[in-house]
């Protein structure tokens, strides 16, 4: 009995594998053929093997909803998400365009602020953004690159169009799952892999290291690069150690670094070793207690001073959070136009800004039909999905929006595309998104594919790991089939 069922229901959504007519899309045919001949027991066995492997390898994340963090495996679904080459080409171009524009935007914001003077983006929005770092004004950063690593979330609407949901420019995570998922799929379906011609993603760590080395302030061929982590208690700690090991660089905590004479050093058994580049997975707020939050014990006192003196490079730079603010997101198409004189290749989701009076009125009147998001919360918290919410929840959000309009945006609910996912014994459609990873260095490189996140709960649109999400492997094909 194969797992492919004739009763698969696409619903009104765009389905990744099945077309509207119910036929299998050309680039999924090979997969369908394989699944057709695969007995269900066999399929289950491969699933179980992967789950066990993840458990043993500790491919986990920590959820901090309760007082004690609990470690969970990020659930993995065996059915891959497949993207043909021509489709990917368009996405890639759009992502490169976007990060190029955002880097120019950040440079401008922290220097001349021309875009504000030309009134393309209201100054008030930028200055009141939580992550606009005044301390960083007029800083020069190596190679003028602010965002070295970006994770942009993409979704598809019911017409199959790709839209940008949001950019993640501070400490985007999930790369380790992308790499682990690929390894798992290779083990589960080795022959299918071969026959399909899937573009490899294993080069991510090398590409990342290359872009980190590129920004060293110290001339020479062996820049000293480290990964700065908040430590074992951070939810993404597994990923930090994973990446550090893949790149062959030391993983350090704030207390392992010391600033002397505006230079950064590592405390090692061989004495103080200079550090040139820091891949930091600590938020700006906590990164230097002498400049930002003084109660932070995770950071390195004097780091910003060393950065200002040009003796160390940080990836991503300080202050990039202003550009992934959900309010600024709404202006990105204008930002692309302003710096590159181009139309955005990848459109935004239509967004209403509560800080604009006309939009605010619309939001308050139609809140039950909209998706409302808090401008600065990550992880899917602080969000209202109007059509799925109770009257009380809507009223609560209405009050919040009215009280602090600058902190909220709203969007029309998008009918996210779905992908066949193994749910309790059968394949059912579940909503997915895509997070490709973009590295900006000497060249801007987009890893083919990225992390496809899937909302495992029936009908749910929330894909985040901390709220019941899982993931799939993403295959970008070398050709279109």
């Amino acid at each position: 009995m194969s797992i492919l069922s004739s009763t698969y229901d696409c619903g009104p959504f765009c389905d990744e594998m099945y077309s509207a007519a119910g036929t299998i899309r050309p680039h999924y045919r090979r997969l369908a053929e394989r699944l057709e001949t695969l007995p269900e027991a066999d399929f289950q066995q491969r699933r179980a093997a992967i789950d066990l492997a993840f458990l043993r390898r500790g491919v986990t994340f920590t959820v901090y909803n309760d007082s004690e963090g609990t470690e969970r495996i990020f659930p993995f679904d065996l059915i891959p998400r497949i993207i043909p080459a021509s489709e990917w080409k368009r996405l890639e171009a759009g992502l490169v365009q976007r990060i190029t524009a955002l880097n120019l935007f950040l440079h401008d914001l922290y220097h001349q602020q021309k875009i504000l003077k030309d009134k393309v983006v209201p100054a008030a929005q930028v200055l009141s953004a939580r992550h606009f770092r005044r301390e960083f004004m007029n800083f020069s950063v190596p190679r003028d690159i602010y965002v070295h690593i970006c994770g942009t979330d993409l979704i598809r609407d019911d017409a199959g169009r790709y839209l940008v949901l949001e950019d993640n420019l501070r400490c985007p995570s999930g790369v380790s799952y992308m790499i682990e998922n690929r390894a798992a799929m290779r083990r589960a379906f080795p022959n299918l892999f071969q026959s399909y011609g899937v573009r490899p993603i294993e080069g991510y760590a090398d590409a990342l290291l290359k872009s980190l080395r590129y920004i060293t302030p110290r001339p020479g061929d062996k820049p000293s690069v480290v990964l700065l982590t908040p430590g074992v208690y951070n939810s993404a700690y597994f990923e930090h150690t994973f990446l550090a090991r893949q790149m062959g660089i030391p993983i350090v905590e704030g207390r392992d670094l010391v600033v002397r004479d505006s230079h950064v050093f590592m405390r090692t058994t061989a004495g103080l070793v200079p550090v040139d580049v820091i891949y930091r997975r600590i938020d700006d707020d906590f990164i230097d207690p002498s400049v930002f939050r003084p109660d932070s014990v995770l950071g390195v006192p004097g780091l910003v001073g060393a950065y200002r003196a040009g003796n160390v490079a940080l990836a991503n730079a300080i202050g990039t959070g202003v550009a992934d603010d959900k309010v600024i997101y709404a202006y990105v198409p204008k930002i692309i136009k302003y710096y590159l004189d181009q139309e955005p290749l990848l459109p935004n989701v239509n967004t209403y800004l509560a800080s604009e009076p006309a939009d605010r009125k619309f939001i308050l009147e139609n809140i039950a039909k909209l998706v409302v998001k808090s401008a600065n919360e990550a992880g899917g918290y602080g969000m209202l999905i109007g059509p799925a919410a109770t009257a009380a929840e809507c009223a609560d959000f209405r009050a919040k929006v009215a009280a602090q309009p600058r902190n909220f945006i709203a969007q029309d609910p998008i009918m996210l595309s779905r992908s066949p996912t193994w749910c309790d014994g059968q394949l059912e459609g579940r909503h997915i998104d895509l997070r490709p990873y973009i590295l900006a260095g000497e060249k801007t490189v987009v890893t083919p594919g990225g992390l496809t996140r899937v909302a495992l709960r029936k009908g749910s649109l929330v894909v985040n790991s901390s709220q019941g999400g899982g993931s799939k492997d993403t295959w970008v094909l070398k050709g279109d089939l």
Binding site: L127, S290, R308
Partner: protein, 288 residues
């Protein structure tokens, strides 16, 4: 007026401190109403300093001391020329009758919204309405009205608040020091739509008694239509005149911290601040 300033801060630790990283904003600003003739900063233990201009245009010095030390002394000395009162522009009564333009409001947006020490909470909003209960007139008149309201409804009490007290806390206590008077006034002005910012600095206390110490001072500046930033001291209910020296401006105390930093080691056992503001008369000046 020519004024000489000396500001010495000494931290005494209950033990030792090491790996100390500090930022100071003690250098008087340069603008149409004052000019800084000289400025020097020294520390003990001795440390090389670097400086940069921060977001608000304040000259900020940084220094670090790695080795263990039992005390840290930071001393700034400067000489400043302030434009005499006779030569200063009069208060903006006339021009300020026009309302603040949208462009200006946009430009000064950050001084119209909440900041760390000045959350624009309900109690401040109520107080703002009370202060302007007799009706709105011009920006300048409203600004002064709020200032006087603060002066008359708050008591100057050094022990009532601490350096971390917010505007809401000070309002509740109806007491505080110049920092709190400034924060409360800023809150009320912002809620009334007047962009207002915090100013740190010093003033020459002509009625100083022998033995009375000078101190750092805080006041505010309101942005008046067509005229720009105009200073007012709510603690003394007067305009900032030639006796006042401006050191730093910002949204609130958090942006202008005169001396601050982090270090590893024992807690601070004692903090001494000595400020001296003296007028330099022409005779002495020529000899200097």
């Amino acid at each position: 007026m020519r004024l000489r300033l000396r500001h010495r801060t000494t931290f005494v630790y209950a033990g030792h401190a090491r790996d100390s990283f500090n930022e100071v904003r003690l250098c008087p600003r340069e603008h149409e109403l004052q000019s800084c003739r000289r400025f020097s900063l020294r520390t003990d233990p001795d440390a090389p300093t670097q400086d940069y201009i921060d977001f608000h245009g304040n000259t900020t010095h940084t220094f670090s001391i790695a080795e263990p030390h039992a005390e840290l002394m930071v001393e700034a000395e400067s000489e400043v020329d302030t434009v005499p009162n006779a030569d200063r522009p009069p208060p903006p009564t006339g021009a300020a009758l026009v309302p603040l333009g949208a462009a200006e409001r946009e430009e000064q947006a950050e001084f119209l919204v909440a900041s760390h020490y000045v959350p624009l909470a309900e109690e401040l909003e109520r107080e703002s309405r009370v202060a302007l209960a007799s009706g709105r007139t011009s920006a300048w008149a409203d600004f002064l009205k709020i200032g006087r309201h603060v002066r008359h409804t708050m008591a100057y009490k050094p022990e009532a608040t601490s350096v971390s007290t917010l505007a809401t806390g000070a309002l509740r206590l109806r007491a505080g020091v110049c920092q709190d008077f400034a924060h409360v006034m800023i809150g009320l002005c912002r809620l009334a739509g007047i962009p207002t910012r915090y100013v740190s600095g010093y003033f020459l206390n002509l009625s100083r008694q022998p033995g009375e110490i000078d101190a750092s001072h805080a006041w505010v500046e309101g942005y008046m239509p067509l005229v720009g930033w105009t200073a007012y001291d709510p603690t003394h209910d007067r305009l900032a005149d030639e006796r006042y020296i401006q050191v730093a401006v910002g949204r609130d105390y958090g942006d202008i911290r005169p001396v601050g930093g982090t270090y590893r080691g024992a807690a601070t056992r004692e903090l001494r601040v000595e400020v001296e503001v003296r007028e330099v008369d022409a005779l002495t000046a020529r000899q200097a």
